[in-house]
Symmetry: C2
Subunit: 149 residues, 2 copies
DNA sequence: GCATAAAGTTAAGCTCGCTTAACTAAAAAG
DNA sequence: CTTTTTAGTTAAGCGAGCTTAACTTTATGC
């Protein structure tokens, strides 16, 4: 065990390691699915935020409506997304993941977190408890933050 | 504080929140730099692993040597990377970040972790201690893992 | 009701990343 | 010393994402 560091330092060190490894699994998985990163990111957004309209996609990713429309069209073709008319506003669409799309996201998470599970399996019970406690603290704090997604 | 969860659950919840927020800051920052994600990723790799040759880039990102060469060329043009001849093998090149490139990465990290700093600032001293301890445990464990970067 | 604004779509055209193929130069193998 | 392998570059061409512009359809303001 290394010497305790100030919190900003320990946070940053951890985030470096974590991000680097997670990203690897992430991009690798995206490649195996045949989807591009932008397409994949849209599925992720739908997973995270639930059903939404086309404009929310374009705002979230800072692209034009046209671009969003084209990307979504591909995801509809590949049956990862369902695009229905919004009953409350017939100009708008309601986009949501199909079961197909959900399965893919789920598989992606598994891939992404595999190394993490391995990491945890090497910890002692006492260490695991501490980790759970800390992560719960962080998760709660994150949920209470201004959530400008 | 929510009820304690099993470790796999608490890990996963945390990672979802964390990844989603970090990625937002990340892609946003990449856009402001004018660099593409592939270009940005190469800078990240050099930051993480230090100087390396062209082939290591192409292997790491699973692209052809030609593609790596072209991407690197752009980063050399924009003065984020220095490309020198390897004195031990004159076929090979040694790629490394310029001060310029390092500054950019550093700024990216700040952007990426801003929300995290904000999050931590809301914690009580006692909570912070627990977080530091847990992150140190995780970081140490990660460093001891098979490191196939 | 009519003009204006808003949500999406479609098409043309650009840039960028990537691949394959052909090439140069240096190291390793024999 | 010659052959083969390895590291990297360059060029041609493809596909994907993105933008702008023109358009359709539905909602909103006055």
């Amino acid at each position: 065990m290394t010497k305790p560091l100030p919190i900003s330092q320990s946070l940053r060190t951890w985030m470096d390691v974590f991000m680097h490894r997670s990203m690897r699994g992430w991009t690798h998985f995206a490649k195996t699915t045949g989807l591009s990163m932008p397409q994949f990111s849209i599925l992720m957004q739908l997973h995270h935020k639930g059903p939404c309209g086309m404009s929310e996609i374009s705002e979230r990713f800072d692209i034009s409506n046209a671009a969003a429309s084209q990307l979504v069209e591909k995801l509809v073709q590949s049956e990862h997304i369902e695009r229905a008319e919004d009953p409350n506003d017939r100009r708008a669409k309601v986009l949501q993941l199909t079961p197909n799309g959900k399965d893919l996201i789920e598989a992606g998470f598994k891939e992404r977190y595999k190394w993490m599970d391995e990491l945890v399996s090497n910890l002692k019970a006492e260490e695991r408890e501490k980790v759970v406690e800390a992560l719960t603290i962080l998760t709660d704090a994150a949920k209470n933050m201004s959530d400008k997604n």
